[in-house]
């Protein structure tokens, strides 16, 4: 009898604890409903930073939740209403024209290799031929002999879409290319593979990988701003029809001085 009582008490208290914990995690602000941003994994880390700053500065306003999924998924989410704002790292496609885009920053696409790889520069033509599978060995582009392990993104990725447009110009990525589903996964793969090459958002390049110069130009924020580095794509917030006031407030924050400060400090190019 006592044993059953103890067991029941234990179960009830565990359930209560879970309920309390979930209540603490999901902070419902005074403004009521939260807003959701979904889409590009390139924009995602920056959106998360902005959401955090926004939450700190305006704790009374709606909470901002950020999800990934890729640019195409972001467009779908904005169209279906699953997200109030979609994030994209490429231009809108013809099928997405019902959405309205806002440019929040420009970002360069960096070609990255393993830090120990002696290759530090490639021409755009070489990059194209490596990714289409025409060039298969590192020795053909100035490196140590060995098969190039090409790492690409899934088709819905904005980074890939921009890469396809800017570098491949319609050609197909080699079928042998490894496909990873986020910038982070590509970076991690290349950081561990001495024979690897991939493309990621410039804002996400860190010490674990090496960005190569393309056509003699190193990818830096300055070179992107001046236009010397040409592999550039816009970061977009997209929405259908009209933005709800909560979403508009966040968008204003991102486009204002405070938002620009955050983005610029992380390696993105914002309009002055």
């Amino acid at each position: 009898m006592a044993r059953r009582l103890v067991t029941t008490a234990l179960i009830v208290s565990v359930l209560l604890l879970m309920g309390l914990a979930s209540g603490c995690v999901r902070r419902e602000s005074k403004a009521g409903a939260s807003i959701t941003l979904a889409g590009s994994t390139s924009v995602q880390p920056f959106a998360e930073m902005l959401a955090e700053e926004y939450g700190k500065k305006y704790p009374d306003r709606s909470v901002v939740y950020v999800q990934g999924g890729g640019s195409s998924a972001g467009a779908r989410a904005a169209i279906s209403g699953a997200a109030q704002i979609g994030m994209m790292s490429r231009e809108l496609a013809p099928t997405e024209k019902e959405l309205t885009p806002i440019v929040i920053a420009h970002d360069a696409i960096a070609l990255v290799v393993h830090p120990a790889n002696p290759v530090s520069q490639l021409t755009k033509e070489q990059v194209k031929r490596v990714f289409t599978g025409e060039i298969v060995d590192w020795s053909a582009v100035g490196g140590h002999s060995g098969r190039i392990n090409v790492v690409s993104r899934e088709e819905g990725s904005g980074t890939r879409g921009a890469f396809d447009e800017l570098v491949l110009e319609g050609a197909d990525v080699a079928p042998r290319a490894i496909v990873q589903d986020s910038n982070g996964a590509v970076r991690q793969t290349v950081s561990q593979d001495k024979m690897g090459i991939g493309y990621i958002s410039l804002g996400l390049v860190d010490r674990t990988v090496k960005a190569v110069a393309v056509d003699g130009v190193i990818p830096t924020v300055e070179n992107t701003r001046t236009g010397k580095y040409t592999l550039v794509r816009p970061f977009l917030f997209v929405y259908k029809g009209h933005m709800v006031p909560d979403a508009e407030a966040f968008a204003d924050f991102v486009l204002g001085d405070e938002g620009k400060k955050v983005l610029a400090s992380e390696g993105l190019v914002t309009s002055k």
Partner: protein, 282 residues
Amino acid sequence: MSRNERAAEIILTVIGLSSATILGLIILFIFSEGAPAFAKVGVWKLITGLKWAPGKNVFGILPMIAGSLAVTLGALVVGLPLGLGSAIYLSEFASKKTASLMKPTVELLAGIPSVVFGFIGLTALVPFIRDRLGGPGFSVLASSVVLGVMILPTMTSISYDALRAVPQSYREGMLAVGATPWQTVRMAVLPAARSGILAAGILSMGRAAGETMAVIMVAGNATIVPGSLLDPVRTMTSNIALEMGYAAGLHRSALFATGVVLFVVIGILNIVARAAVRGRGS
């Protein structure tokens, strides 16, 4: 028959039929969603096409079919012997104490989420294969090992139950005519447990063929027919998971068509497995 008996019978019948109904609904749904892709691309071209490029409206599933078959076969090669061997050991040779310790351990292995297996595969196995054996590391081999370890507990548990269900009189009879323990297992116990072990194998095969998350992390997802164990590969399940977030129209229908093909392939594998064992006579 009393009222309670009747009620119980009816309720159980309804519950039993509901599983079949749900299965029927699922089949209906994926077939109808996949129909446009089959119609527009053509069943033959879809199933035998070697190129998958949704952006250019090219849909060929053959590399993914080959990929699913390769990793499933690889998983069985890794998991079946280990699983069955463990089950035989636990059932026939281990001391009671050892068995009582090992059984929960195996069951704990079954409780580990597939994402964890994928993560370990990604951070430990893939670099190992890349550095020691060559290739990009993301490979049929990596997928097979990860999946093999994942199906191990299923194989062990169900085979163990099948072996335990063999009456002790079989073993006693064999020992009485002078058979060694291994001869007893090989000639009397295993054949008697055949259908249970087959069920274990089919269940494990189904699990391996349907696994998605762990495979995405270690297979490489390249749309090629794998030529060697070290080649990257994409399975049908990974294909669906990678692209479903944004697929629309014909692309989305093609993913459902992939689901239909997966369904059919697993069905064929099940039939082949049953026939192969039945052929040897029960």
